[in-house]
Structures are given as C-alpha cells and as structure tokens.
Symmetry: C2
Subunit: 349 residues, 2 copies
C-alpha cells in the first residue's frame, strides 16, 4: 500500500522511524507499505513515486529542519495538491487539531481522499467530532476504508476493541481520562503546586501546549468525547454540545479536600445514552470529578489514560494505557494499516 | 448455526437464558443460532433437530433437575454420541475442567467435532493447556474454527484483543490476576480472617469449590497461564511446567507486612519469553507477589480479574474486568459465535 502522509510532526517522524527500522520490529513483517509522499504546513514536502527512503527523509529533516534541497520538485506541494494529484492508496491525516476552525482543513483532506476512492487513516480527531456521518457514508459509498484508532488514547485499541471484540453487546456508557495535560496538572497540584506552576511544568516537559487553554478548558477532551460518542454510540454530538468544566476553577483546597476523603480529582470524560422525548439522546460531558481511590481511574498518573466501557451483557471492562510514548501513538497508525490490509485481503468484513 | 452444547452448568444455563430472551439484548439481532442438542454428565440430554425451545428446556431443568421426560429419546445420549451422530455446526464445550485427567475428556470432545469438520467453541481451558497445537492444526486442516474466548477472564475479550487489535506488535510479557478464589481469599485475609475461615466464606458464596486445593495450589491459574502462553506466545507449555506457589503457605503476618509497606499480596500469573540455549523459551509462573498499591493489580477485589500485555511498539496496556457475573462468562460464548459468523461471512480472515 502506498501511503501519503499529511503532516510530519512528532507522531509522523516516529512512525517513519518505526517503518525505517523494520528489522527491529518482527511483528511488522506482514505489513506491505511504502511512503510515496509527505506534506507539511511549513517545512516543505517530499515525494517519490517509487517509495521514499525514510532514513534519508529523517536525516534531511534532522539536518535542515525542512524538506527542499533533497526533494526540489515537491518543495511547494500542498496537502490538497498531493491528495488530488499523487498516486497513493492511503492518505494518513496527521495535521494538528484545529478546534477554532472546527477541523475544517482535516475534514477537507479526508473528503478529498475519499472522493478519489482512496482509503483514509486519520490521527486527527476533528473529522470524527464534526463530520463523522458524512465521511463514514462517503467511505461506504466509495467502498474504501476510513480508520481512526489514533484519535483517542493514542494507539491503544479503543475503537478496535469496541467494534471488533464486543459484538452482541449494547454499549451503554463510556467513561475515560483522556486528556494528559489536565491529568498531569492535577497530579502536580496534588503535590502542592499552584495551577500556574503546574501548567508551566507541563509546558517545559512538552505535555502542555504554549497556549494551554484548549486543554485546561476541556476542549481537547470534548472533541474526544464527540469522537467516541459519534462512532461508538451512533450520536450526532459536536464538541460544542459536550458539557465542559474548566480546570481553571479548581482550587488547591478542593484537591486537598478530596484527598482527605480518599478521593482524587480527575477530569473525567463521559458519554451515555439517555431517554428523551420520543427516543433516546446521547449526552457528553467533561467534568472534574472526585474519584474514589479504589477506582482504577484514581491510579492514572501523568500522561496515562483509561477508558471504561459498560455494556448490557458483558458488564464493564476497563482499558488502561500505561506510560505512553511517541511509539504508543505512532502504533495507532500501524494498527489501522494492518486492519486495512486485513479488510482488503478479505472484503465483506 | 446449529449449536450442540456439551455440559449445562451455570454458564450453559445463563447462555440459554440470554439466547431465550433475545428481545432484551438488541445487540444479538444479527446472531443466527439455534441449539439442537444439550448433553450433560448426570442430568440427561435434550435434542431437537429443529432447534430446542430454550425456555422450555430451562423450565424443565428447573422443575425436575434433569432432562428426561420432556426429551425421552435423548435421555441416555452421551456427549461423544451426540458429537458423532447429531447434525450440528458448532460444538460448544462447557464441561468442567479436569486437571487430574489432563483435560482428556474435553480434548476428546473437541477432537471428535473437529474431525467431523465442525466448528468448536470451548469454555474449557484443558484443550488449550494440554493440546493446543494438535487441535489448532486439526482445525486448520479441516478448515473450521476453533475459538476459546471464555477460557481466561470469563467473557472479557482477552484473545480477541491480543489476536485482532494488536497486530504488528511482538508480545513480550503477559501478567494477570486470573483466579478469583485465591484473590477473594487474600482480600478476606487482609480483613483479618484466617486462611481456613476465608476459604470457608468463599465456599459459602460459591466462589470456591468444595475441594479448594485446585485453586489454592495454583493449578487453575497454571492452566490459564498455559492457555495464554500456548496461544499468544506460541509456547508448548503444559500446566505441569508452570512454576506454582501455593496460597496455603501464606501467613496473615506476610499479608500484614505487605500492607505496612503499602503493598498487597496477589496471586500473579506470568508468562514471558526468555533467551535460552540456541533460541528462546517461554516461562510460566504463578506466584504470590507483593504488588504496590499504585499498580492497577492492587485494586482487583474479590472475583475481578486483570491482565497486562507488554509489547515492543505499543508498550503496555491493561484490561480489567469489573464485578463479573454469569452473564460476563456466558458472553464469551456469544463473542466466539459472532467471531465465527464473521469468519464464515468473509473467509480468508
């Protein structure tokens, strides 16, 4: 499968490193992929219809900070041009989430690829949060795959688990700790730091963005709630309809009081179906909740994450991702590529 | 798909209740199954080539404690006879685990069904622990499915997760708390009970068998370690080769000392690959381990269970099953039936 990578930040580079170093990962043996194009917002592009030498790509980017000299013909190629003009099988959308723009650029990328009858793997959750149904329907109409394992909990198998391993159940409720910045900040505040000091520490470690508001105000978490609710609960729930509680209002006293009661404060994402006029509707929430220390949610430290799925037959199971790193996230793309390859090998699944 | 159920204890009856009450479980809509036969060790058998009325089966068994009057023709039918003579698509092996006999009866059932070219779903872990490779190879040779989700962690998606959602990774290590009797007993001993009193309490609640030695001495856990190691680490590791540590040697003092150090004693199952002469070998262990309270393993209470999978790319994930009941276990069969149906719908997967 020929891949076109849109965006080449930390995850894209780690993915390229893994694919360039396949001898170290025997499990990748059966995966037949080559990267025929990489586009970026500000660092140029690289194209090779015969498959890019990823070691060389990474070296050039490391040395010069941008593509260009090594790939002059592609220097000014945009993502939209690449999506329209290159010969690829799978577009891998890895551009940054744009909440203010309601994911428009990423949604456009996905749509362009699907319209051309190409498969799509997205790490960007905007398309799931703001355009799930039309994109899913478009993929079906074109007979191509639209996959998204990396969008929630890095590469942990959230969607694969829910869609492929729990058949027969009706999913009743989803709960999770899914935003690492707020979780990291809360853990630091429990150690006595002020909110400002905890945020500054998170920024130094690269856990928080230069502008931390998107995380602190629950927007990133709300987009994840939308993605989960839309895909797994068949909702039409944009992030703007998800109730949010900002971490900015949390005082050290509130954290301390919770600890005294053997509880920890956590930013908990929730989505569940509830009866409403003439049917059911899906509620999404991002709340600062007191979690008892006997709950696995209370053990999630720093950048870890956790998800509880509650079902009518099986009951509830909890999936925890421990100490994620860039490989954990990049694996989400690998997982989608394997799933795509399986679906191509046995259509109808 | 026509099912033949071998054994009809708690799990079988709960499965029958779920299948008899499909209107309550909308997720089962797509599952096309009927039960054409049920055999038991001491309570007779029931057969109806057109599909048994499961409500009537359950009522008869509830009223009389055995089949017979309602199904006179089948009264003396054995499992082996049913496997050889009835017209079924899937044999569901649900007889009790026989450790002393090294699973021979259940292995025989599975083999008879596979030899006839019938699919097999087993809840009995004996076939995986003592005969995995020959049975797997026989199923491949006959072109039929051999599935076993219920054998470890009830119906939680252990094998489905590892086999279908983590592709591309090399699995390095498996750890779990997988035996509910010993976990229940340890939790009670932390509350001050003696081993004998804790075991008696577990027996009263139906968590421990009349003869608790199989659980206390780690045999049940060792069989699960074998099943996981054989299937997921491609080992040839019978339960006899799994190191075991008995709970009988654990004193209240040892439990108390661990708590003082903010640790809990847990019976932890482990399987991992290690370098050995001219290659690698798989080690399996059942150990009484001190687990720090910050580890999700420390939160597993009573009959809950937990599994950690450590991989080369993704890192480690943890799957927790919370408050399982009979439906949780019966779901494992439902899960296998869905997987089987999917495989029949798209062969080659």
């Amino acid at each position: 499968m020929k891949l076109l990578l849109l965006g080449f930040g930390n995850i894209g580079r780690r993915l390229a490193e893994i694919l360039a170093d396949r001898a170290s990962y025997p499990g990748l043996d059966g995966l037949g992929v080559s990267v025929v194009g990489i586009t970026t917002g500000s660092r140029g592009a690289a194209v090779d219809p015969a498959g890019l030498d990823l070691g060389r790509v990474l070296a050039e980017l490391g040395a010069r900070g941008r593509f260009g000299e090594g790939y002059p013909a592609a220097a000014t190629l945009t993502s939209e041009e690449a999506l329209r003009d290159l010969d690829y099988d799978v577009a891998v959308e890895m551009t940054p989430l744009d909440i203010a723009g309601r994911g428009a650029a990423a949604i456009g990328h996905v749509r362009t690829a699907l319209e051309r009858g190409r498969h799509v793997v997205t790490c960007n959750k905007g398309p799931l949060a703001w355009a799930w149904r039309p994109l899913r329907d478009l993929a079906r109409e074109k007979g191509v795959a639209f996959l998204y394992e990396t969008t929630v909990m890095d590469g942990a198998p959230v969607f694969n688990l829910a869609q492929r391993c729990l058949r027969g159940n009706t999913l009743l409720r989803i709960e999770g700790i899914l935003n690492s910045t707020t979780n990291f900040v809360l853990c630091e505040m429990e150690r006595g730091l002020s909110l400002a000091a905890a945020v500054a520490g998170a920024q130094r470690l690269g856990v928080a963005e230069a502008d931390p508001a998107t995380d602190l105000d629950g927007w990133d978490a709300a987009v994840k709630v939308s993605a989960l609710a839309n895909v797994l609960l068949d909702a039409e729930l944009p992030p703007e309809a998800v109730e949010r509680e900002s971490l900015s209002a949390v005082t050290p006293q509130r954290i301390e009081d919770a600890l005294t009661r053997e509880h920890r404060l956590k930013v908990v994402c929730e989505a569940f179906r509830t009866a409403s006029q003439g049917g059911t509707q899906v509620i999404g929430r991002v709340r600062v909740r007191e979690v008892p220390v006997s709950d696995p949610f209370a053990l999630v430290e720093g950048t870890g994450s956790i998800l509880r799925l509650t079902m009518d037959i099986l009951g509830s199971i909890v999936l925890t991702e421990e100490d994620p790193d860039l490989s954990t996230t990049a694996y989400g793309v690998v997982s989608d590529l394997f799933r795509l390859q399986e679906e191509l090998d046995s259509p109808g699944q």
